[in-house]
Amino acid sequence: MNEQQQTLWQFMLLESDKLLNQTLQHIGLTFISLIFAVSIGLPLGVLIARKRRLSGAVLGIAGVLQTIPSIALLGFMIPVLGIGAKPAIVALLIYALLPIIRNTYTGIIGIDKHVIEAAKALGMSKKQVLFKIELPLAMPVILAGIRTATVINVGVATLASYIAAGGLGEFIFGGISLNNTNMILAGAIPAALLAIILDGLLGLTQKLNFKKLRKLLFILPFSLLILAGFYILPTAAGSDLKAGFTPEFMGRQDGDLGLKSAYGLKIKTVVISDAVMYKAAFSKELDVISGYSTDGRLKAFGLKILKDDKGIFPPYYAAPIVLESSLKKFPELEQTLNLLSGKINDSVMTDLNYRTDYLHQTPTRVAKDFLVDNKLFKAPKNGNGDVVKIGSKIFGEQYILAEIYSMLIRGNTNYRVETKTGLGGTKICFDALINNQIDFYPEYTGTGLLAILKPDAKLVAKITPDKDETYNYVSAEFLKKYKIKWLKPIGFNNSYALMMRQKQSADIDVNSITDLKNYLDKN
């Protein structure tokens, strides 16, 4: 929790192995895709310079490909190419294509036609005209295209970490998730430097005269190959199971670091975005992933949570937290909110999330169905008492909870209700509560402990293995420090969890993280 005091330099030194590895991967990714882009784009450019009728169509298609948002493009790749290096390289190649095709084309058609005519008139064959005259003369323009493509690739390659292809994006996106500025900069600065240096080097080549350019043309392919060779697929210990963890999980003590220290888990690991991780596990690209225990996709993709038998993931039990002043103002509020206490366990919450996230039912409908099923629903009294303001964070689960509470209050009391849903993150919600903008919102014990109270690491280690101890601690501290009361827990625990496909878990008989470790050690 003292990342803030750590300087960027210290962080980079500490993580120098990872940094070097990511930088090399980044360079490698950039240049592998560049080699492919050149070997496709250059001939295409030559072709459309010969057959101009095709130029409109080819440049048009390449232009359209260029406009696809990079995240979306990576998304399209997964069903076809899976995750990892392949889709990343293909996506990068697609972005690099347009500048290379276009510059080859304009470079060739821009050559003085008298020069081409002279070449023919002297008796050069078509091939000789192309290789001795057209390509060398178009080379400065083609190199400018390659330069543009390189810089684009360095930028887009940061996104490769979303689909487990590595690169400096691992630090950048990990840093964003963990709110760790040093980590963001440790990825962003080398990426920016890389772009500037490569741009500068390729810029130099454009200024060379023809003689030096000719020498360079022999060196260039080799250096491209060498740079491309930097991309060594991320490999680790030789187990046949493969894990995909989010950048955030990778950097947390209650994440990958804890798995290593508490369990001694050694598994082949790639970094991947939360958005594609569940899908990748479902399609057997990955075997173990780091998810959230109540995520609807758990149900959608038939995944099973491995028991955290050593308790490294802190409990994230949800409960409404209310201003003491609001409890006084609304005497019936506490007992109304407590109606929900113990009613929603993990699998119920997962199901509710599944219905909003995957079946696209509205949170209102899901909330009402739930209350009706549990015989908690009462028709609104349409009272005209004071207004209770409910807050929620900006994800599905919180919207459902806010709706449920809203219906409970309307059905059981005369208070009116105003919901302020979608309040960015923890900080925004909590600030709104403290400043009396809202009366309560659902919070998680782990978040209250780690994101708001931030006690020292020793205390965290001592209390987190026990969910009641954690609840009691945050409950007491909140009341003391902020005059905020934690009501009774709703029942579910939305914590980090390792998960596998149900079938695989049964096949290899792995039900807990210790099982997983033992299985990996044996195989």
């Binding site: 008298h114 005519e117 002279a118 070449a119 023919k120 002297l122 008796g123 003369l137």
Partner: protein
Amino acid sequence: MIEVKGISKKYGETIAVNNISFEVKAHENLILLGTSGCGKTTTLKMLNRLIEPDNGQIFINGEDVIKQNPEKLRRGVGYVMQNTGLFPHYTIEENISVVPKLLGWKKSETANRINELIEKLHLPQDSLKLFPNQLSGGQQQRVGLARALVANPSVLLMDEPFGALDNVTRNSIRKEFKDLEELKRKTIVMVTHDVQEAFELGDRICLMDKGEIMQIGTPKELLFNPANNFSAKFLEGEKLALEFKIIRIEDVWNSLPEASKVDGIRFSPELTVWDAMEKLQSANVSELIFCSKEGVSKKVNFHDLTSAFNQFKNSHLHE
């Protein structure tokens, strides 16, 4: 020797060249003359198949051009163009040695030939390592000529070779061109729209309009026996200057007074009337002495020259 039999070229509906035939004798210099769009350049480019004729036959030194591999054909035919067409990324030396390389000459052989050529064409030795844009326009044109001549082709095609040069440079290069021994042994077809140039350089002139040949003949024939209205009209504006330039002292020999005693510089009667007038002016003398091969000498002043010229003209007009 070149034989052209009924070649045509159409671009869509436009007829660029319409069924034309002509012959160029060995070591002859034929000029294709006409305004832009008359088909002269298209005709020239069909000779080495830079443009494929739609129909007709072309023979160079007795061989059917259409049946040859076009690349091999072109390596054997020199080609000089208006914009030089030098390769900007090749040094002068590399530019000149393109064809020898294609033909697989030995390096030493190429080097010898290049040295020979740059001397003949008055190119500085150290220019060989330079790139084309480091040379003047006149020098570039000489390199273009060297590149066309290097492999000793018997036929040379020239597309407005002096067209891109300024007047002063053009005149001096044209003179060098006329005096170049090597060119006198070539069969040359040259395109120009410059009438003066055509009359100065051409053994015969092929006057073209709208894709057809209007008249083909020696400069004298074109001047004094225009075949049709077009020919007459075409030369109208520059007639007098052209006449001075093509009529030689030997043509008017009989009308000139004989010299009794001869001393001082003797000139050849191959000089044109124009040249003789220039000599009279520039040397600031009143008389010039000419001496024929047979040993007959004539003494000529300005008045003699003009009256002989008029006599010659009159006699030709009344033929």
